[in-house]
């Protein structure tokens, strides 16, 4: 049984007269310890897929299972619990709470959760041990994104979803973030999914899924992923 299994997932926005099909009959499976890159142009449906994977949106039809559990059947409350326990999110624009320090932002995602990482240790792991008491406004973009990653991984999620995690960063910082994400996937316990339109990132992934106009156009396994230092930004 695959870790994640999507079968004929379709997502339609809008009412009867004006309907936009964001995802059409999408099916694929993912395993743990994979670094997956989902590629596609703007409007291809990759963010919609990410939202469905993260339990932030409902699919119009089809099924989505994680560890055999049908996520599409969960109600709002159960979905919230699912996001809280099993999903880690990294956003393009970080979405840190401006009035919490880096450490508090990390602590925020593990409130009321058991079996989690130590937030200080996690921040040290992402190289921010010395900035943990700073507010987001005192951190650079790369540092904020690292806090965002620390916030996502501190709860030891099964699935780490990253929406354009390097989109707002320069090449050096972007590579640093990618290295971090790759190392997380290599621990063997988590599946890391990166959504991006930057094709060069795909070269470091174990699996590359391409989207176009809401349809899955290819699902390839990369047997020889490149080292991050080798890719051209």
């Amino acid at each position: 049984m695959p870790f994640i299994e999507l079968k004929e997932i379709t997502k339609v926005y809008g009412q009867k007269e004006i309907q936009i099909v964001a995802l059409q009959q999408v099916s694929f499976a993912l395993e743990k310890n994979e670094l997956v890159v989902i590629l596609g142009a703007s409007g291809a449906g990759k963010s919609t897929l990410l939202n469905i994977l993260g339990g932030m949106d409902y699919a119009t039809s089809g099924s989505y299972k994680m560890n055999g559990k049908d996520i599409t059947q969960l109600n709002e409350k159960k979905l919230a619990q699912f996001r809280r326990r099993q999903i880690g999110f990294v956003f393009q624009f970080y979405n840190l709470m401006p009035n919490l320090t880096a450490l508090e932002n990390v602590r925020l995602s593990i409130e009321h959760l058991k079996d989690v990482e130590d937030p200080k240790h996690t921040l040290e792991m992402v190289g921010l041990g010395h900035r943990m008491h700073n507010f987001p406004s005192h951190l650079s973009g790369g540092e904020q994104q690292r806090v965002s990653i620390a916030r996502a991984i501190v709860k030891k999620p099964d699935l780490l979803l990253c929406d354009e995690p390097t989109g707002a960063l320069d090449s050096q910082t972007g590579k640093h973030i990618l290295r971090l994400l790759k190392s997380i996937s290599e621990t063997g316990k988590q599946c890391v999914v990166i959504v991006t339109h930057n094709a060069s990132i795909a070269e470091v992934a174990n699996r590359v899924i391409r989207f176009s106009d809401g349809k899955l156009v290819s699902n390839q396994i990369n047997l020889h992923p490149k080292d991050i230092e080798e890719i051209e930004w």
Partner: protein, 766 residues
């Protein structure tokens, strides 16, 4: 068709898309203008009614009253070229109720009745007020007996009823007025005493002239001149301008109070309007920072950009204030008018729907909006486009003292966020505190008004004079032994009550209570040689304990030492033992009775009412019912204050909760993504606003009492004395209501968090 500019279209769309936010601006503008125009309309209408009465009755400018005719006064008035009229003014008692008689010259042209109903349209005659007929079950054409001060008793036939400018108060509380011309009096005397010639009667009457009605300029200096010249003899009773006359003091002071009222509540609401507009503009400008940069980059001038944002609030403020301009003059004068109609006999007059002052109040509010907008927008608009284009300023936090405290670090993160938010949005924090402070102080004031009135009543009816039945006699004879023989009666205190003028620094018209030498029901200790005085009368005449006061009783002036000022609520006047008047017989006018058990109250009062010589017997329960009716208008006002206070809280808290919600939409979305439940997310909201509400409400409690005193002092009721007191439960109610409103509003917003779309809110910084 004129094509709208793009910025005008933007104004329309901004209002349309954020109408919930801007609703509070419209609402507070409406509230502020409603209160101002309403209270102003009330004052103008009331003032107009009084002016109409004075004008139609040719009211004089001042009245001089003496003990007997004084030629010296006439000489002064002639020398000063003052127009004047002489008349006789004396009190008498009919059916145990005081009546003032005015005997005016046949060709009188001052202080005329202003609304007369009569049979056969006689030009002159004997006119009484309507309640005189009602109380004594008389009708026009009936004859009744009057004892004249010259020792004659005559019969007068009632020609008609009237309203008179010197008897504006409803006479159930004050003496009735009988108004007659001299010829009618002469005829009535001759009808009874035909052996006295008309000339002799007229000469006799002229020696009883004791009032001079004055009209002219520079009246106050003439009055001062007369007071100076007559200060050495005991002739002068008073020399007062119309507004200071005992008969007109109450209504004149009510007009002044109606005017003063304009400056209390509207000021509070105008201040809150400024706060709400200030916060809304700040929020808009912060949100529009990037758009301001774009407009500047496109070449719009600072003035154009400023006008654009100011016009949003001008449109909203204009809408609200126009509504207020309509509602205010319709609602508030109607509510306040209930009080005036209950106290005074006022003519029905048509009032203008529009007054220029209403427009001025709207313009003032709009000017305030413009000034607030300009001051708020100035710093954002003067930035260079490059800085504005960077968008909303990054939120810079510092590691403050609070952040370094260990216990703060251990707090749940939603509390940490709430407290940091308060510090971050300090202007909003202050606005919640001030807005809620205003609400809770108004609520304390509203509750306090009722507490004050009932506290005073309870103090008098349960502590000072704890009677169970009160009795009024008809014929000034004692019925003590008869009443004591009734089953269930325990104690009887007979007393005599007379209307008198009392003077210390000022002269006022009030009551003299002559108490039995030993009392059982009246619980305040008194001696034989001095007097007690009610606190209201003491304040009005300017006396304190141990002072000597003067009063006129039985055609004699008395001077007496005040031993104690007592907080009486209903019984106003001075209280003296009969022993003080030992040369005069004790002629009781009523009695206070205590029964052995409350179940006897109604039975005893019914039995006493059946007795000959008893005018009325009323149980304590009925008295309380009557008082409740009397203070009905105050309860209306109290309710109005409470409603406005809660409306104020709703507007302030709704505005702030909505602002908080909008500013934190992205945070809410993030928390939802992180898997927080609706209540967990909602609690982070509630902690902030409810904490601030509690602070504001607690501070407001301290402002409640001063506000209560301010409101009550401009709402003095001549029938009641206020003993300021606020019950502990009123404070508890205030906190519960304020925090309850805050809780409900925030609960609604907490529930609304489920509408925040995680996907949409997290797409980008914008």
């Amino acid at each position: 068709m004129v094509k709208k500019s793009v910025l005008q279209i933007k104004v329309g769309r901004e209002i349309k898309s954020n109408w919930k936010q801007y609703l509070s601006v419209v609402f507070i503008a409406c509230l502020a203008v409603t209160l101002f125009t309403g209270i102003l309309a009330n004052y103008r209408n009331f003032e107009h009614q009084l002016a109409e009465i004075y004008q139609s009755s040719h009211m004089c400018d001042a009245i001089i009253m003496t003990q007997t005719y004084d030629e010296q006064i006439e000489n002064i008035l002639q020398k000063e070229s003052i127009t004047y009229e002489k008349r006789i003014y004396f009190p008498f008692s009919y059916e145990n109720h005081p009546v003032y008689v005015i005997v005016h010259p046949d060709a009188s042209n001052m202080n005329l009745p202003y609304s007369v109903e009569k049979q056969n349209n006689p030009r002159q005659g004997v006119f009484v007020d309507e309640s005189f007929l009602t109380r004594n079950q008389l009708k026009i054409g009936d004859v009744f007996e009057v004892a004249l001060p010259m020792g004659l008793t005559i019969h007068l036939q009632i020609t008609g009823t009237m309203l008179h400018p010197e008897s504006l108060e409803h006479t159930s509380y004050t003496p009735s007025l009988l108004y007659m011309n001299q010829s009618s009096l002469v005829d009535a005397i001759r009808a009874q005493y035909s052996f006295i010639s008309q000339e002799r009667i007229e000469t006799y009457l002229s020696s009883y002239v004791n009032q001079y009605l004055l009209k002219g300029s520079n009246i106050s200096s003439v009055l001062n001149n007369i007071k100076d010249q007559l200060s050495d003899d005991n002739q002068l009773v008073y020399a007062l301008e119309t507004k200071d006359l005992p008969s007109n003091q109450a209504i004149e002071s009510d007009v002044t109070q109606a005017k003063q009222l304009i400056y209390i509540f509207p000021v509070i609401f105008y201040l809150v309007a400024i706060l709400i507009i200030l916060t809304s503009i700040s929020q808009l400008i912060q949100r529009e920072q990037k758009n301001i940069g774009i407009l500047k980059a496109l070449g719009y001038s600072q003035y154009q950009i400023l006008s654009h944002y100011t016009s949003i609030f001008l449109v909203l403020g204009g809408m609200g204030s126009l509504l207020g301009m309509i509602f205010g003059p319709l609602i508030i004068p109607y509510v306040m008018g209930m009080k005036y109609q209950m106290l005074y006999q006022l003519p029905q007059i048509e009032y203008p729907f529009f007054r220029i002052e209403y427009l001025i109040s709207v313009v003032v509010l709009l000017v305030i909006i413009v000034i607030t907008s300009v001051l708020t927008c100035h710093s954002s608009i003067t930035k260079v486009p490059a800085i504005s284009l960077r968008g909303e300023n990054a939120v810079h936090f510092k590691q403050g003292l609070l952040s370094k405290m260990t216990w703060i670090k251990r707090m749940p993160l939603n509390m940490v966020m709430a407290f940091r938010n308060m510090r971050r949005k300090w202007s909003r924090t202050w606005m919640v505190i001030i807005g809620v402070l205003g609400c809770s102080s108004l609520l304390v004031c509203g509750f306090g008004i009722e507490d004050t009135i009932y506290y005073g009543l309870d103090l008098e009816l349960e502590t000072y004079i704890p009677y169970d039945v009160t009795v009024s006699y008809v014929d000034n004879a004692s019925y003590q032994s008869q009443i004591l023989s009734i089953e269930g009666v325990q104690f009887v205190d007979e007393y005599a009550k007379h209307s008198v003028n009392i003077e210390k620094d000022h002269i006022i018209h009030s009551n003299l209570y002559i108490l039995p030498e030993e009392s059982s029901v009246f619980q305040v200790a008194y001696d034989d040689s001095s007097c007690l005085i009610s606190s209201k009368v003491a304040e009005e005449i300017g006396c304190k304990e141990e002072d000597i006061i003067r009063f006129w009783y039985n055609n004699q002036v008395y001077e007496v030492v005040v031993t104690k000022i007592v907080d009486f609520c209903i019984s106003q006047g001075i209280f003296i033992s009969h022993h003080y008047f030992r040369n005069l017989p004790f002629l009781p006018t009523g009695a206070w009775i205590q029964t052995t058990d409350a179940s006897y109250d109604e039975v005893v009062s019914n039995q006493i009412a059946q007795m000959d010589g008893v005018l009325s017997a009323v149980s304590i329960a009925t008295t309380r019912e009557k008082v409740n009716h009397t203070i009905g208008s105050i309860q209306v006002m109290t309710l109005t204050i409470k409603i406005f206070a809660i409306l104020l809280a709703v507007v302030v808290l709704y505005n702030l909760a909505l602002l908080n919600f909008k500013e934190r939409t992205k945070d809410i979305a993030t928390l939802k993504v992180l898997g927080f439940s609706r209540m967990e997310i909602g609690s982070s909201f509630m902690i902030e606003i409810i904490f601030l509400t509690c602070i504001g409400a607690l501070i407001g409690l301290f402002f409640g009492q001063p506000l209560l005193i301010a409101v009550m002092s401009i709402n003095e009721n001549p029938l009641l004395s206020y003993i300021y007191h606020i019950q502990p439960q009123s404070y508890i109610w205030t906190i519960c209501l304020t925090c309850g409103v805050s809780f409900i509003i925030n609960l609604i917003f907490a529930i609304l968090t489920h509408r925040v779309q995680m996907v949409e809110s997290l797409k980008s910084v914008e």
